[in-house]
Symmetry: C2
Subunit: 153 residues, 2 copies
DNA sequence: CGCTATGTATGTATAGTTGCAAGTGTTGCC
DNA sequence: GGCAACACTTGCAACTATACATACATAGCG
C-alpha cells in the first residue's frame, strides 16, 4: 500500500506518455496533409478501397464536404479515384503507394519509439508491462475503435 | 515464453485503447471550440496566465495568426486579455472560469472512463497495471511533454 | 421507355487557420 | 527627448473544412 498514485492516475500518466509518442509520430505526416486528410488515409489503409459515400460516413462528413476534401487528397497524390466495377456511379477511393507509405511511416515511427522506451526496462519489467497493458487493452476493448478518428489515429 | 504478442505490440494495442479514451474525452469540447483553440486552453490550464508571445510560441503559431485566434477564444468567453502589471505592452491571457471548466471537464471525463475500465480488473490485476504503467511512464519520461500539443492534449 | 432512387459533384456561403508585411503603442537606453 | 527594440494588432491574402441546396449521371424497376 505504498503507492501514492492510484491506478487511474498512473494510467492517465502513462496515457500522456503514449500520447506523446503518437503525437510525435503523426506530426511528420501533418507537415504534408491535414489531420482530417490523414484520418481518411488511415481508414483506407485499414480497410482497403472504399466508396466515397462510405468513407464520408466514416469520418462523419457531409458528402459534398467530403467530395471536395477528396479533391485535395487526390491532388496531393495520396489516393486515387476510380469507377467501381460494380456500378459506374460509384467512385472507389484507393490509397496510392505514396499514401500508404505515409501511413506506414507513422505506424513504424510509433512502433520504433515504443520499442526504444521498452528497451530501457529490464526483461522482467518489460514482461510485466506487456502483461499489464494487455490486461488493460482487453478491459477497455468493449469500447469501439471508431472514436479514435477524432484524433486521426 | 508463451506470449505471441511482443511488449511493443501490446503497448501499441493499449495505446489505441487509451487514445480512444482521450478522443472521446476531447470530442465533447470540440463541439464548442476548435482543436487549435483547445490546445491553447490546455496550455493555459497547465501554466497559468501567459503572455501572447509566449503562448504563440508554445503552439508554434505566427504572432498575427495567434492574435486573431485569440480574438475568437476571448469572444467565446474561454479566456481573457489583460495588460501585464510588468509592462503595458505585454498582454496576459488568463483562462476564464468557463475556459477552466471546459478543460477540467475533459480531464475528469478521461479520469472517470479510465477508472471504469480499471474497475473491471481484480484488485491484484489493477495493482499490476498500475505498477507497469508507472514503469512505462517513467521510461518514456525523458521525452518532453511539448509535443503533446500536436494533438491538443 | 420512363420514373424514381442512388451516388457524386458543383454552386454558394460561412468560419477558422495560416503567414507576410505594415502599423500602433510601449520600453529602455543613450 | 529621441531612437531602436519589443509586444502586439491589423491589412491583406490564400487555403481548408464544413454544410445546405442543387445538378448530373447511373441503376433499377414497372
Amino acid at each position: 500500500m505504498r503507492g501514492t498514485v492510484s491506478a487511474a492516475d498512473a494510467t492517465l500518466l502513462a496515457s500522456r506518455a503514449l500520447l506523446g509518442v503518437v503525437a510525435r509520430s503523426v506530426s511528420s505526416a501533418l507537415e504534408v496533409v491535414t489531420l482530417p486528410q490523414f484520418r481518411v488515409l488511415v481508414i483506407l489503409s485499414g480497410s482497403g478501397p472504399m466508396r466515397m459515400g462510405a468513407l464520408a460516413e466514416h469520418v462523419h462528413a457531409n458528402q459534398s464536404t467530403f467530395s471536395r476534401s477528396m479533391d485535395r487528397i487526390v491532388a496531393g497524390g495520396w489516393a486515387q479515384r476510380s469507377t467501381s466495377p460494380d456500378s459506374r456511379r460509384e467512385v472507389l477511393i484507393t490509397l496510392t503507394d505514396t499514401g500508404r507509405a505515409l501511413v506506414d511511416e507513422v505506424t513504424e515511427h510509433r512502433h520504433r519509439e515504443i520499442s526504444t522506451i521498452l528497451e530501457r526496462l529490464t526483461p522482467s519489467e518489460r514482461e510485466s508491462v506487456r502483461a499489464a497493458l494487455e490486461l488493460f487493452a482487453i478491459a477497455a476493448d468493449e469500447y469501439s475503435v471508431e472514436e479514435l478518428l477524432v484524433l486521426g489515429i
